[in-house]
C-alpha cells in the first residue's frame, strides 16, 4: 500500500531539489522519513517548520494519501 502526497520545498531546501512535486511513499510514512527520502540535508540546515495542509506538525507525523506536505528550513523576518 502506498500514499501519494504533494511535497513543497522552500528557501535553501530548494537548492538542487525542486519546488513542488507529487510523490509516492509507503503507507505509514512519517514526515522525517519523507524528508530523508527526498535527500534534504538537515544536519547542515536544520528543519524549521513542517506543515501538513497548512497546519504545523512534528517530525513523527504520519502522512496520509492526498496530504500537502510543506518543508521549511529555519526562516525568519519581520
Amino acid at each position: 500500500m502506498s500514499i501519494t502526497i504533494t511535497v513543497k520545498l522552500f528557501a535553501q531546501y530548494r537548492d538542487g531539489l525542486f519546488k513542488v512535486k507529487e510523490m509516492t511513499f509507503p503507507k505509514g510514512s512519517t514526515a522525517i522519513y519523507v524528508i530523508d527520502e527526498i535527500g534534504i540535508d538537515h544536519s547542515k540546515l536544520p528543519i524549521g517548520v513542517l506543515m501538513v495542509n497548512g497546519v504545523h506538525v512534528e517530525e513523527d507525523f504520519v502522512l496520509e494519501n492526498g496530504n500537502v506536505f510543506t518543508i521549511f528550513p529555519k526562516v525568519g523576518g519581520g
Binding site: 528557501a11 517548520v49 504545523h56 525568519g76 519581520g78
Partner: protein, 580 residues
C-alpha cells in the same frame, strides 16, 4: 563628556542644551522617548498642534561597536492613532547622535511664521535653525543630495517629502543609510508631525565627533560580551543564514502556506501570487541581475537582511525591499510583477510614505471603487501625481485606510486604533492578533512578534489557530521588545535571543559594561514592563479605552479561508493582557 539633552523650540527658533535628569540617566531608545513624551506632552493635545513634541533618542548601545546597535527611536503623539508612538529606524542617525553625546533631541513648538520650512542642523554643543525655502517641494533624495553637497557624505539626515509637508497621515520621516539610501521612522504619521512643525530636514554633523565611539566604562568586559553576542547572531540559523540569503521576504511563502497571508483586502489568508513575489524568486532575480542580497541598514549590522534589487537590464530599482511592502502590494493588492512593486517601493521611499499604511489603503481603495485590483501602473500614478501633488484623491489615500473606509462607507477596514494591520492575519495567527489589539502603538507587528512562535517555531511553538497561550505569549514578547527597543538593537536580534541561551545575557552585559552598572535579566524585563505601562497610561489619558483594544468587527463574523478562522477572543480574555 556626559551626554546631554538637546532641546529645540520651534516657536522662537531657539535651542538649549540641558543636563540629563537623574531619572532619565539609565534610559535610551524607546524607554527614553516614551518617558519624555509621557512626562512632557499633554495626552489630550492635538498631535499636529503646538503642544505635541518629537523626541529622537539613540539606543543605550548605539554608537558603540556592538553589532546591530544602530537603531534610533522617535517618540511623539500620533496623528493617526491619537495615542503614543515609538518608531525605530536604522540608518546612520543613532550612531552619530550617540557619538556626539546627544542623549535625546527634543523638538517642541510650531514657528510663528509658518510661510516656509526650516532645516535644523545639530553639531557639537550647537543647533542651527534656518529657513530653507530652496528645499520646499522637494522629495527625499533631492534633500539628501543637497545635504551631502552642503556638508559631507557622512552627515546624518532625516527628512520629509511632499506628503510630510502636507501633513498626510501616511507620511514617514526618512533617514539616510550608510550607502545613501533611505530607511523610515515609519507608522503613525510621523512625517505629518514633522511637517506640522515646519521642519523639512534635520541633519546631524558627523565631521567632529568622538571617532572612538560612545564612552564605555569597562571596555574589556564590553569586548568580551560583544564577541559572544556577535557569535550568537552569526550562529543562529535565522539571523546567520536565512535573513542574509533571502531578506525578510522569505516570509511570503511560509505565512501563505500557514493560511495567514492577508490577500484581496483581507478576504483570504492565502494568495495565488505567492510564488511570483516570494523571497526565493526575489533572490533568484537578484542573482541573475547582479544586485546584492546583503546590505546593512546601518553600520555594524552583522545580519544584513536588506538588499539591492535591480531590473532585468541590471539597473538599480530599489533597496530595503521588505516583506511588508511586497505583501501589501503583491498579495493584498494583487500586483504579480515583483519589478513593478520595486518601482513603487523606490517611489515611496522618495516620497516618504509608509509601506504598510499606504499599501493597505491602496488595497482598500479597490473596495472603494477607486482602482482595479492589481493595477500597479495606476497605483504608481496615484502616488506620484495625486499623493505628492495633494489632489483631493491624493488626500483621501494620504489619510490612511481607516479614514478612507469611513469616507466610502466600507465595513471590511483592516485597522486597529485607526492604524493599518500589517502582513499577518490576526484570525489565523492569533498571537499576532493579540499584539495588534493590545500594543499602545495601534496595529504594529514589531511590538511583539508572535509570528516567531506561532509560525516560525522560534522560542518554541504555540498553535496559531488556537486561543490557548496567546495572551501570555504576546505579553512576554511585548515586554521583551520594549526593552530591546531601548538598547538600539534591531528587532531581528529577537531570533537568536529566543533560541540561543547566551544571547540575552551577553546583550545585558554590554549595557552593564558601557554604563558601569549591574542589571540582571529581571531588571531588563521590569524596564520593558514600565515602558508598556507608561505608554498605556498615556493612551488612556488621551481618551483611548479598552474598547480600542479590539479587531475590526468583520473579523469576528467573516471566516477566513483556507482555515475558516474567525477572531474568537472575548473582551475579558484580551483585557487580561494588562494584568502584570
Amino acid at each position: 563628556m556626559a551626554d546631554k539633552i538637546y532641546r529645540v523650540d520651534m516657536s522662537n527658533l531657539s535651542f538649549k542644551i540641558e543636563d540629563v535628569p537623574d531619572e532619565w540617566m539609565g534610559l535610551g531608545g524607546r524607554g527614553l522617548t516614551s518617558t519624555i513624551i509621557a512626562a512632557e506632552v499633554d495626552p489630550e493635545c492635538h498631535p499636529l498642534g503646538p503642544n505635541n513634541k518629537m523626541v529622537f533618542a539613540p539606543g543605550l548601545l548605539s554608537g558603540t561597536s556592538a553589532a546591530n546597535s544602530g537603531r534610533n527611536s522617535l517618540g511623539l503623539k500620533s496623528p493617526l492613532t491619537g495615542g503614543i508612538k515609538e518608531s525605530n529606524v536604522g540608518g546612520t542617525i543613532a550612531g552619530v547622535m550617540a557619538k556626539l553625546g546627544v542623549k535625546a533631541l527634543i523638538i517642541e513648538g510650531i514657528p510663528k511664521d509658518d510661510s516656509t520650512f526650516y532645516h535644523i542642523h545639530v553639531s557639537q554643543n550647537k543647533v542651527e535653525i534656518v529657513a530653507c525655502p530652496e528645499l520646499v517641494g522637494k522629495n527625499n533624495y533631492a534633500v539628501l543630495d543637497a545635504m551631502e553637497e552642503k556638508y559631507n557624505k557622512k552627515v546624518a539626515v532625516m527628512t520629509i517629502g511632499l506628503p510630510g509637508e502636507q501633513k498626510m497621515l501616511i507620511s514617514n520621516i526618512s533617514v539616510r543609510d550608510p550607502k545613501g539610501k533611505l530607511r523610515s521612522h515609519g507608522r503613525g504619521g510621523t512625517g505629518a508631525v514633522m511637517g506640522s512643525k515646519k521642519i523639512k530636514c534635520i541633519t546631524v554633523d558627523a565631521a567632529k565627533f568622538n571617532e572612538s565611539g560612545a564612552s564605555i566604562v569597562d571596555p574589556e568586559k564590553f569586548k568580551a560580551a560583544s564577541k559572544i553576542f556577535t557569535k550568537a547572531l552569526q550562529d543562529n540559523p535565522i539571523s546567520g543564514e536565512g535573513l542574509p540569503a533571502f531578506g525578510t521576504n522569505v516570509l511570503v511563502n511560509i505565512i501563505n502556506e500557514a493560511g495567514g497571508l492577508p490577500s484581496h483586502n483581507f478576504r483570504s489568508g492565502f494568495s495565488e501570487n505567492a510564488e511570483e513575489i516570494c523571497g526565493e524568486t526575489m533572490a533568484e532575480n537578484i542573482k541573475e541581475r547582479g544586485g546584492n542580497t546583503t546590505h546593512g541598514c546601518h553600520q555594524g549590522c552583522v545580519i544584513q537582511c536588506s538588499q539591492t534589487y535591480n531590473d532585468k537590464e541590471g539597473n538599480y530599482l530599489t533597496s530595503g525591499f521588505e516583506y511588508e511592502m511586497i505583501w501589501a502590494f503583491g498579495a493584498n493588492f494583487g500586483i504579480k510583477d515583483l519589478d513593478q512593486i520595486a518601482k513603487i517601493d523606490a517611489l515611496m521611499d522618495d516620497l516618504g510614505v509608509d509601506a504598510i499604511e499606504t499599501g493597505v489603503t491602496i488595497g482598500l481603495a479597490v473596495d472603494a471603487g477607486l482602482i482595479e485590483f492589481g493595477d500597479g501602473k495606476r497605483a504608481f500614478e496615484i502616488l506620484e501625481k495625486d499623493v505628492a501633488g495633494g489632489t483631493p484623491l491624493g488626500r483621501i489615500i494620504g489619510s490612511g485606510a481607516g479614514n478612507l473606509g469611513k469616507l466610502y462607507g466600507l465595513v471590511r477596514v483592516p485597522v486597529v486604533k485607526n492604524q493599518s494591520i500589517p502582513a499577518y492575519e490576526p484570525r489565523a495567527i492569533k498571537g499576532q492578533g493579540i499584539t495588534y489589539v493590545t500594543t499602545p502603538m495601534g496595529a504594529d507587528h514589531t511590538a511583539g512578534y508572535a509570528v516567531a512562535t506561532n509560525i516560525l517555531n522560534s522560542g518554541g511553538h504555540v498553535d496559531p489557530l488556537s486561543k490557548e497561550g496567546q495572551v501570555e505569549l504576546s505579553r512576554n514578547l511585548q515586554i521583551a521588545s520594549a526593552a530591546v527597543d531601548s538598547t538600539g538593537m534591531c528587532i531581528f536580534v529577537a531570533f537568536p535571543a529566543l533560541d540561543e541561551p547566551e544571547c540575552l545575557p551577553a546583550l545585558i552585559d554590554m549595557i552593564n559594561a558601557r554604563f558601569g552598572i549591574s542589571l540582571g535579566v529581571d531588571d531588563v524585563m521590569n524596564l520593558g514592563k514600565n515602558i508598556l505601562k507608561t505608554e498605556h497610561e498615556f493612551n488612556l489619558k488621551a481618551g483611548l479605552t479598552s474598547a480600542d483594544d479590539r479587531v475590526p468587527e468583520f473579523m469576528k463574523y467573516e471566516a477566513l479561508p483556507p482555515h475558516n478562522a474567525i477572531w474568537d477572543f472575548t473582551n475579558e480574555e484580551i483585557d487580561e493582557f494588562w494584568n502584570f
